[in-house]
């Protein structure tokens, strides 16, 4: 955490402590002073237990659990042959250079935000899930009680299974919902819609009738307006 008074090297100390305990840890400190640690799902439980209980770390609180679906990271979604008649026209943009925006290893990454109240420090754990098997990760409910609902939410929205969770049910979506809406391949307008049908006299479910509308005219990356640091880059071409 970057402090206004420039105590940004606090993160440095935490990095050193983690490295001395786990020499092979892939821990890094961002330019903003936030410490992140990339873990494998196998080591997560042990590490979490130590981080919570060990008096040197003492992360008493698990503030947040979330996931990121890296399916579309750095990719253009506007490469299309037709334009919609209802929204902005779509422009074709050159597909990104993969070296500029490297895709993380797996598709899903579970992100934990820990907070130590006694030491006033934050730590982010990032667990990339392997792509060759279903997304399963050990549950942290036995270590932090707050993990319960956070993990249910991630399961609901991303379809990531938490092994050992006592009550892994959907939490935010409708009863009987199918699919995991926050995955990048789930459409923004959803797949089913609900309405009252006067003929049958009840509420019915049917496939969505909304045509997807483009609200963002164009996704830009490496905007020419911000160039200057990277003279080799050209402005994205718009056809």
């Amino acid at each position: 955490m970057v402090m206004a008074d420039g105590t940004a090297d606090e993160g440095q100390e935490l990095c050193g402590m983690i490295r001395s305990q786990w020499p092979e840890a892939q821990v890094s400190r961002s330019a903003l002073g936030e410490v992140s640690w990339a873990l494998s799902p196998e080591t997560l439980l042990d590490v979490a237990r130590t981080l919570q209980a060990d008096s040197r770390f003492h992360f008493e609180q698990l503030m947040d659990v979330t996931a990121v679906d890296y399916l579309a990271y750095g990719k253009e979604e506007w490469v299309t042959e037709t334009a919609t008649g209802t929204g902005f026209s779509r422009a074709r943009v050159v597909v990104q250079d993969p070296e500029v925006h490297p895709q993380p290893d797996g598709r899903f990454e579970v992100v934990y935000h820990l907070l130590s109240v006694s030491r006033n420090e934050r730590l982010r754990l990032k667990v990339a899930l392997p792509t060759d098997r279903p997304p399963v990760i050990p549950s942290l409910t036995g270590i932090w009680a707050s993990a319960d609902w956070f993990e249910r939410e991630v399961f609901d929205l991303f379809g990531i299974l938490f092994e050992g969770h006592p009550d892994l049910r959907r939490i935010l979506t409708d009863y009987g919902f199918i699919g995991h809406p926050f995955r990048k391949d789930f459409p923004l307008s959803g797949e089913i819609e609900v309405r009252y049908d006067p003929e049958s006299g009840r509420v019915i479910y049917e496939p969505v009738s909304i045509t997807p509308r483009t609200l963002v005219p164009r996704v830009i990356r490496n905007d020419a307006r911000y160039e200057g640091t990277d003279p080799g880059k050209k402005e994205p071409t718009h056809d």
Partner: protein, 417 residues
């Protein structure tokens, strides 16, 4: 004689004490609660997914609609996250204005909490008095942003506009006499700052009035003392933050421990509770209102003495002023590009937190370098608090459950997102 079996009861989602759309499935043993299973998500709007499909600035309005009783503080976390990734420093006056409105928002939030909490427990009059004060803060919102609730006032790079020099006045109306209209406009003769100053002078007395009604009230104490007790260890385990954590006796306030904006330069105290019950949390929030009032008057003193810009002078991120746009082609193009395409944010991730009236409100933002967020995660304080409802309510009776829902300061906009 037949033995009484435990039975299941449905509470809400259409229940006046459910604070919105909370559905509880209660397992009861007589009138004693054995288990609470909250069913949430009835207000789920997928704000995080919607934000992934539009430029950064177009999602500020969604933030207001998360916790719809403390609008500007939600925006604050979001714009902080963007500013951190962009690596920009905002003008000092904008920082003071943000803190000023954060604290006014904290007062409105606590006023609404106090009114509805008391109403749930059976004290009708507090609700009316609390809303009278809240009305003035809504007028401040309106004066500064044009909207009484969903302000969209904070922008990456500062705030939308400076504080107005004239406070809007009540227009003549056939329903009101001249005298009554004059009375309503009594403190609106000057600028917004004068109006807020008048409010800060009045508020401590009003809080005393609330306390007169409640603090030593026998019924109030019977309904809150010893109800929903959370030990400090459990509060940490359950991910509590804000007044819920402080009520359990842990002195933790992000404004002090991980300060942002100008909080290090301001004087305020952090109240903490001792027992961790509903009554302590009530006392903590009442004191927080007084402290917020202190911060507001410090901000006003500073703002009067230090005029200056309130938004970054960078047309890539903040729109150019109207007057400039009228004659400068370049500014017009900037304006058009900003409001259609927005701006690109460097690839990276950040977790920006603010001390929300309800606890820790965080925005985890992942950018892949585009002009819209790649992933936005909203960490709502109420979500963790509601998750602990089961633990807090077990062994209590249904009327106590209502008191616990009230003390958690639940707002479904932020829990369901």
């Amino acid at each position: 004689m037949t033995e009484i079996q435990s039975y299941t009861m449905n509470f809400g989602p259409q229940h006046p004490a459910a604070h919105g759309v909370l559905r509880l499935v209660l397992e009861m043993d007589g009138e004693v609660i054995r288990k609470v299973d909250p069913h949430i998500g009835l207000l789920h709007r997928a704000t995080e997914k919607l934000a992934e499909s539009k430029p950064f600035n177009q999602s500020i309005g969604y933030m207001d609609r998360l916790d719809y009783v403390s609008m500007m503080v939600n925006e604050h976390a979001y714009v902080l996250a963007i500013e951190r990734l962009l690596g920009i420093e905002i003008p000092i006056r904008a920082r003071y204005i943000r803190v000023l409105f954060d604290e006014l928002t904290r007062i409105t939030n606590h006023l609404l909490w106090l009114g509805s909490h008391a109403l749930d427990i059976g004290a009708m009059s507090v609700f009316l008095y609390a809303f009278r004060e809240r009305e003035d803060i809504m007028d401040m919102y309106e004066a500064v942003s044009g909207a009484r609730l969903h302000a969209t006032y904070y922008r990456p790079g500062g705030v939308h506009a400076d504080l107005p020099d004239r406070m809007p006045q009540h227009a003549p109306s056939r329903w009101r006499s001249k005298k009554e209209q004059g009375e309503r406009n009594r403190n609106r003769g000057g600028s917004l700052i004068d109006f807020i100053r008048d409010f800060t002078g009045r508020l401590p007395g009003r809080i005393d009035e609330f306390e007169n009604l409640l603090t030593d009230n026998r019924i109030w104490k019977q309904r809150t003392v010893g109800i929903g007790v959370v030990s400090p260890e459990r509060a940490l385990q359950l991910g509590f933050s804000g007044p819920m954590l402080r009520g359990s006796g842990i002195a933790w306030d992000l404004r002090r421990t991980q300060p942002y904006e100008v909080y290090p330069d301001l004087e305020f105290d952090i109240p903490i509770g001792r027992e961790g019950d509903c009554y302590d949390r009530y006392l903590v929030r009442i004191e927080e209102m007084r402290q917020s009032n202190r911060i507001v008057s410090q901000c006003l003193d500073w703002l009067v003495a230090h005029p200056g810009p309130v938004i970054l002078d960078d047309y890539k991120i903040a729109p150019p002023p109207r007057t400039v746009m009228k004659h400068d082609m370049e500014a017009l193009i900037h304006h058009f590009k900003l409001f259609t395409e927005g701006y690109t944010v460097p690839a990276g991730e950040t977790y920006a937190v603010v001390e929300h009236p309800k606890g820790e409100f965080g925005i985890y933002l992942v950018s892949d370098g585009a002009n819209k967020p790649y992933r936005l995660k909203i960490r709502a304080a109420g979500f963790a608090h509601l998750a602990a409802l089961d633990e807090m309510a077990r062994g209590h009776m249904i009327p106590d459950l209502v008191a616990i829902i009230g003390t958690q300061d639940i707002v479904f906009g932020e829990i369901d997102r």
